[in-house]
Subunit: 361 residues, 2 copies
């Protein structure tokens, strides 16, 4: 229980992270042992372990534990930690599949799962055959992460009624994030000046999935109902927007050595981000023509990306997104002023709100 068993203390977020990691490591160790006994390939647990422990902010597990404290839970009981860990396993599924869909080469500073798997199996295969094998294996490894995120939930040791409440929120979260990904996919490659559409994707794909639902799940673990969850949403949704808007900026301006991912992928894919929508909305005819010619070009190089960055500055889109992030974070912090969450939860929620605005990775 260490630093977390007194609800009035400041929540020790690094301690939560390492406890969640311990649950994930123990789960994967068990799966690796079972695979060895059953003659199943070791490669699945190996790749998942490498992926999970290459990095990651553990934001969803942290928010789950914070939600638990916000709703009056105490300490870090094993069922809460295991549900928190299941959210990270689900996120591994989402990222592995996302990287296939975005054809990303790196994640967390390492080759993505589909790329790493292909690289390992190039000997005796054509480049196309190895790439296809890598993509197929990554689909499967992502599927396994999703299935195992379920198993972590089912075996968390929640009492039955509580499990049913939690599953209701989990089911909602999963459907939302899938639809968000779908909206994103359909808009990719054909960005428009619709900021409203870009923000709707953000809301669905990130704000609810990354911030709101993990808090709700933690609160449901502590027995909170829909009314309490609605209070959390007033903080969570603007903060989640800010989080994705920062991600959009990092996808174009971030330092790959810090973010662990390329800063060309989003531009090459022609992602319909709020940043791009604002630029297209504010652009004059020549600027708009230049943006449409550059965005979504799969062969875009650093010089083309530099030209896009210039246009994002000239149109004021970059600054506008910074202002949006600022105002969303303030909105999130203000929502906290009106609530009587326990001090430990409140402190952590404020800390996260500031971190989301300022983060570099």
């Amino acid at each position: 229980m260490s630093t977390l068993d007194i609800a009035t203390a400041q929540l020790d977020l690094p301690a939560v992270r390492s406890r969640v990691d311990a649950v994930l490591a123990a789960f994967l160790d068990g799966k690796a042992r079972a695979a060895a006994v059953d003659g199943h390939p070791a490669v699945v647990t190996e790749f998942l372990r490498n992926f999970l422990f290459a990095g990651g902010k553990r934001l969803r597990p942290l928010l789950c534990v914070i939600g638990w404290h916000a709703a009056g839970g105490h300490g870090m009981p094993a069922p809460t930690l295991q549900v928190a860990a299941s959210l990270e396993m689900f996120h591994a599924f989402a990222l592995v599949h996302d990287d296939i869909m975005d054809n990303s080469a790196t994640r967390r500073g390492r080759p993505t799962v589909h790329r790493a798997f292909a690289d390992r199996h190039r000997a005796g295969r054509s480049a196309a055959a190895a790439d296809r094998l890598g993509g197929s294996a990554a689909i499967l490894i992502g599927d396994v992460a999703l299935v195992w995120s379920d198993e972590l939930l089912h075996t968390a040791g929640l009492r039955p009624g509580r499990l049913a409440d939690v599953l209701t929120v989990v089911d909602a979260m999963r459907t939302e994030v899938m639809y968000g990904q779908c909206l994103d996919l359909l808009a990719t490659g054909r960005p428009t000046a619709s900021t409203a559409h870009a923000l709707a994707i953000v809301r669905c794909k990130t704000a609810k999935y990354t911030v709101e639902r993990p808090l709700h799940i933690g609160a449901a673990l502590a027995g909170a109902g829909p009314a309490f969850r609605a209070l959390l949403s007033r903080y969570a949704l603007p903060l989640g927007d800010a989080f994705q808007l920062r991600d959009d900026l990092l996808g174009v301006y971030g330092n790959p050595a810090v973010t662990g991912k390329s800063r060309l992928d989003d531009l090459r894919d022609g992602k319909h981000t709020t940043l791009v929508a604002l630029a297209l909305e504010r652009a004059d005819r020549d600027q708009r023509r230049a943006l449409h010619a550059l965005l979504g070009n799969p062969d875009l190089d650093e010089s083309g990306a530099g030209r896009i960055r210039d246009l994002l500055a000239e149109t004021g889109a970059h600054a506008a997104v910074e202002r949006l992030i600022q105002s969303r974070c303030e909105q999130a912090e203000q929502a906290l002023d009106h609530e009587a969450f326990p001090p430990a939860a409140l402190g952590a929620l404020r800390e996260l709100a500031r971190g989301a605005a300022l983060r570099t990775a």
Copy 2:
């Protein structure tokens, strides 16, 4: 309850099928309505509905209901039907992803999901971009089916202790089939003479997933424990082997107008089936060289496939697989002679055993 409420009657399998389909249709209708309200894309429910109702034997839901009757369940209560339906939704996930991995063009006589999605979005896109979009959308649509198979389970209305028992078997099934797919994937493109390895893939990928676990899940719904499930396995595993061995033959010899899928895909992919392993084992040097040259060639045409079929006949591999199917089905039927399953379940189990041996689709 119609024809199924008396446990001693013959089980009306077509009635089970239509009841399961009604559950799936109602669930998807609800999801489509919710998507319309929430501004989510309609395309997900549309594609899943088209996929689910283009055909399919509903074998796993049938076996689930039969398992329920075998373990003393009566009638077709709503929770049993909904769990049965969840297995079909899970299967939709597995097939949609399988078709991406196998790069299959048709399934159930229609374009596969990735192909249909790509075809709909070709306008204004390069062929490569449309194909990539189709693949990404199919990954997502498969993911949604998996997530919704869970939701069907969670909301089936089982009492909590029963749900926990069922989830244990479901979790085991999911892990097994994922590993089976992984074994299959790793062996594809490099078939060997190892019949043992081919049969291990069959056991993991199909026998347990398609026959054993659905029966176990149905039995768990009726409160049966591990000892009873072991009795069912004595029937289920050989029958499941026979089912996949027949599938392997249909993949090479089947009539595409009846099976709804290509009879070149497995050969072009170089699938490591028992049929191929037996042929390589029995081949002389020239035959082996010819098989290795033809199998796994992505451009294989009907004439090359004809040459492979000749080699499968000349080596006696085709006849050997027919004998394996025959003996596995007999083994399954004999297992039934020793058990005191209720007559309705027994009749259905015998019917399925005969059907698995003789089916053409």
